[in-house]
Amino acid sequence: MSLFIERLVNGLADGSIYALLALALVVVFRSTGQLNFAQGEIGTLGAFVVSTLTLSGLPVWLSILLAMFVGFVISAGVERVVVRPIEHRNPGAVIVALIGVFLAVNQLVAMFWGVDARGLPNVFPDQADDFVTILGAPVRIARLGVIGVLIVVLLLLWLMFNKTKIGLAMRAVANNQESSNLVGIRVGTILVVGWGLAGAIGVLAAALLAPSAGLTGTLMLGPFLLASVAAVLGGLDSPVGAVVGGLIIGLTEAFMVGYVDFLGADMLFPVMLVILLVVLLLRPSGLFGSERVERV
């Protein structure tokens, strides 16, 4: 029982990080219809910014907020400077350009911060004795903190999308850009904000992951792939789906490695692909993706 609780919490915590990253992917996909290949790398860059800032003496939480702002600006810039001009001329080429951004950011990180792994302090207490006991199981506070962050981010996003004017505009733009323009929404501004938001969330995910995973230039490679699977699994246009997809992957990882002897951590990707395949065969638009109800 105690082991089960531990694995459950670990699965939910890792799943929360995938969920955050998948959310970022979905926010961009809904508005622009693009899978942002550079999403993970912008997160990695942000995590290095956190590292630099904490080394200069800033508190970890403040460093993360500032790095999220950096992620916002970079991601917004990618939309404005790379994606939009190319999309106008050749929509199919955007995906290639985003892979280019992925490589560029990756190189940039190596140039500025080198290739050696470094540690990143945890924003939550993470000493040997920083745990609470739940149903007899020792659960690390840092792990619970990650789950808490996901909950807070979800709450803030929900409030933004449903209770603010800019959130309404973001939903409108995701649904119909031409009509958004006609009601007076500046579509370009909304797209920039959406991408920026995704960039900030990606940095947050990376900053939460780095303390346990170790900060290297390839920090977000695996998580990005898993988050892509999570987003497709949940339905690329569904924030709820992204979160559910992320948690499913985190839990699968934790329980598979823990309980199924012959399946090691290496088998996570193949197993996830099988799950993905089965889900898509049954529901082509993913678990929560919209099969649009539309009368013409």
Partner: protein
């Protein structure tokens, strides 16, 4: 007329890429007037609407309320008081009816609660379906929603792109009654482009006929209704 017209368009040309679709249109819409532009498929009706609302590059002058809006962006034109009901309605199908209306009021500063109630009053069916996704409404209901959404920005001029498209005659009649009421009870000016000559000309104060990007005839609604060539081309009456 053009001196005190609400909308005065002169020498309007527009197109897509190298292709010019509109070859210098002149037309006006006066205060409290319903003007219809009649044209067959591909005549350039939608292009005209998109040029007026700033959705595509255009040349010539577009004056609204005496102000030159030829170079203005779509959101500035909405703020100035021009609102469009696009062809095919263009409702936000994934959003609820109420969200659609709130989007319509996006440019309004301050509360739009009263506007919501006002247009729910005009369109009670929308009020009943306010929490339903717009995509699940019938074609007629979506067209009503598109009109209500356009009115949420408190426009002085409403542009309607083929409002009768795909609607049963009875629904079209109901819709045109609503459009007439906008003029008669709310003091609105309307520019309607249509292929449905019979019903739209009966409603129009004045009308223009658009053929392959040029205006070829103009007159009052009744004059054009009585015109033999119009009858032949748009009403299928053979003399």
């Amino acid at each position: 007329m053009s001196g005190d017209a609400l909308l005065a368009v002169t020498g309007l040309t527009a197109g897509y890429g190298p292709v010019e679709v509109l070859h210098g249109l002149d037309f006006t819409v006066g205060e409290g007037e319903i003007v219809v532009i009649l044209g067959a498929n591909g005549a350039g009706k939608t292009t005209t609407m998109r040029a007026v609302s700033g959705m595509i590059p255009r040349h010539g002058t577009v004056e609204f309320g005496g102000v030159d809006i030829s170079g203005a962006k779509p959101d500035a034109i909405v703020r100035a008081g021009v609102s469009q009901v696009p062809q095919g309605r263009g409702t936000f199908t994934d959003l609820t009816v109420e969200d659609n209306l709130e989007c319509g009021g996006y440019t309004v500063k301050g509360s739009i609660a009263e506007d919501l109630e006002r247009w729910y009053g005009v369109f009670p069916r929308l009020a009943e379906r306010r929490d339903q996704k717009a995509g699940s409404l019938s074609g007629g209901e979506q067209q009503m929603l598109a009109v209500a959404r356009a009115m949420m920005s408190r426009p002085k001029l409403l542009l309607c792109d083929e409002p009768s498209l795909g609607l049963a005659p009875l629904i079209t009649k109901e819709l045109f009654k609503v459009l007439g009421n906008l003029r008669d009870e709310h003091g609105m000016s309307l520019l309607i482009v249509e292929q449905n000559a019979g019903m739209s000309l009966a409603l129009a104060d004045r009308a223009y006929v658009l053929e392959t990007g040029s205006i070829v005839a103009t007159g009052t609604g009744d004059e054009l209704l009585a015109d033999d060539t119009i009858k032949e081309a748009y009403l299928g009456v053979v003399n």
